[in-house]
Symmetry: C2
Subunit: 312 residues, 2 copies
């Protein structure tokens, strides 16, 4: 509990996960503590999809790409001959995912490039206003996890520096990270597409080229962290095997460290999935949590409430 | 002048450059001002070599590379057969520069890779303690420009967010940016070498691979800025043609903007160089400053004092 006696994590049920979070925050931030960490080193990194907001039945950014494919096909009917664009426009996930990473990167090249970065942000902003989650019919922005917002607030109140480290596109997530999470653009690390500076239109612009040049997932996450921050985090929060390198990099250093994996085991209030999910697969992590001493949080048991919007 | 009547830029002589700096800072930060800019958008970007510290007779990082080449040659005599390493170890700049960018990148591959990022930082730290500037015999850390430190302090006091945007290596500059300039590692954008995450030694590590994967110079600077910050700066400070895209990107947007180029025209206290220098060449910028309304600061006329150490 914090000094004023009010529970800073009301959506977290009492139990080992909550206790550990509160103890860690207190230990590293209390001036007299043996585990005290200077504020500038109090760095916490958060995965986004499946950790801060829902990633089912598909990543929000994939839904955006499908919608973009539909628009592109209307604007340029000749693209119907491209099986990937056609599958995306038809919402045919099976064909899309069957192409593996190569197919997804090609789809990103079609749907996320060929415009300036400013134009892309405007497209994402509009999509975010209009789009509705296919199952729940609510804007994606309502699928943020209330317990995680409370955790962000608790860490911020204890002078932590909060960063998002997402497998999604940095420029995609930056459009909403400040409004949804209070995390400004310069604290969002993500996958990137090649940018090219040019003045050919008379005004300087940053053009998005159809090549993904960094994938901030798996072993890419510690690389993205080192690139952007240049310091090693002391706390890392994720939910899938794509977050394991980030948790390992964070927690394998000396001093007080915290690793946390969110287990999506609540089929009533959200979706129960782990080892066999095409999105946010959590397989090796289920074993590694115990090996490395990471908290494995059960959405079902550890959370009073799931979404910021009323739970379904 | 600031509110308390004390001159915040005592090493700057009175004149248009100083006046413009003071007016700009006041205009964007004064709450009632028509040109007021919110603190989170008050972003100022600084080149490092030749803008915050001296870059003559060669970049500090090149001096480090030559020293590393000498050490490598002692450890692995077979490298003497590599003309590039041999030239670097002999301090033969003419041969080195004759190889152009390709040669320099290859030298970086030899001297900056094959170790973890942590080991590299330790090497730079040691070099910085031991190395002496060839002409002046002082540590490189004493070749910081006092007027620029005063400018950093003035901007910081007015809630600016200060970033370094260097053509040098991000991980090289981060070793000293906090101590010399008060700029923490997460605010240093620079050129980067490929990093690879691996646990093959039992502990997680980030390994430096011998491939430069981003050159944060020229048209790369706006790209590096967008990648790291995701916002457009309102003030940019440089000294060479490698900074022109950064100044253009910064100042071509609407609202109050400031671009400044430092002209090294003081052969007595430092080195006079511009259009024909192999390092920090300022050629097109001498014309573009007038075209785009950037301040062209004369070290000779505009600065009372040059270095933080007593001027030579």
């Amino acid at each position: 509990m914090t000094g004023n006696g009010r529970d800073p994590l009301p959506s977290w049920r009492e139990g080992p996960s909550k206790e550990r979070l509160l103890r860690f925050v207190e230990a590293v931030s209390h001036p007299g503590s043996a585990d005290h960490v200077a504020p500038e080193e109090r760095i916490a990194v958060f995965d986004n999809d499946g950790t801060l907001w829902s990633e089912q039945p598909m990543y929000g950014q994939l839904a955006f790409a499908l919608e973009r494919a539909r628009t592109l096909l209307q604007q340029r009917p000749e693209l119907a001959g491209d099986p990937l664009v056609a599958a995306a426009a038809a919402g045919d996930l099976q064909t899309l995912m069957g192409q593996g990473m190569r197919g997804l990167l090609e789809l990103v090249g079609h749907t996320h490039a060929g415009m300036t970065n400013a134009a892309f942000s405007a497209l994402v902003r509009r999509w975010l206003q209009d789009a509705r989650h296919p199952g729940l019919g609510v804007p994606y922005t309502q699928l943020v996890y209330q317990p995680m917002l409370e955790l962000l607030a608790l860490l911020r109140a204890h002078d932590f520096r909060l960063w998002i480290v997402t497998g999604g596109g940095a420029e995609f997530v930056r459009v909403f990270a400040e409004e949804l999470y209070g995390i400004p653009p310069e604290r969002v690390i993500g996958s990137t597409i090649r940018l090219r500076y040019g003045e050919e239109t008379g005004e300087p612009a940053l053009w998005r080229e159809p090549t993904v040049d960094f994938i901030d997932d798996g072993d890419g996450k510690p690389v993205g962290i080192e690139r952007a921050i240049g310091r090693r985090p002391i706390a890392a929060f994720g939910n899938s095997d794509g977050d394991l390198a980030m948790l390992r990099w964070t927690t394998a250093a000396p001093g007080p460290r915290l690793g946390l994996l969110l287990h999506h085991d609540d089929g009533e209030r959200e979706v129960a999935y782990d080892r066999h999910s095409p999105f946010g697969r959590l397989d090796r992590g289920l074993e590694l949590a115990a090996v490395h001493g990471w908290s494995l949080v059960s959405m079902r048991r550890d959370w009073h409430r799931v979404f910021t919007a009323p739970d379904p």
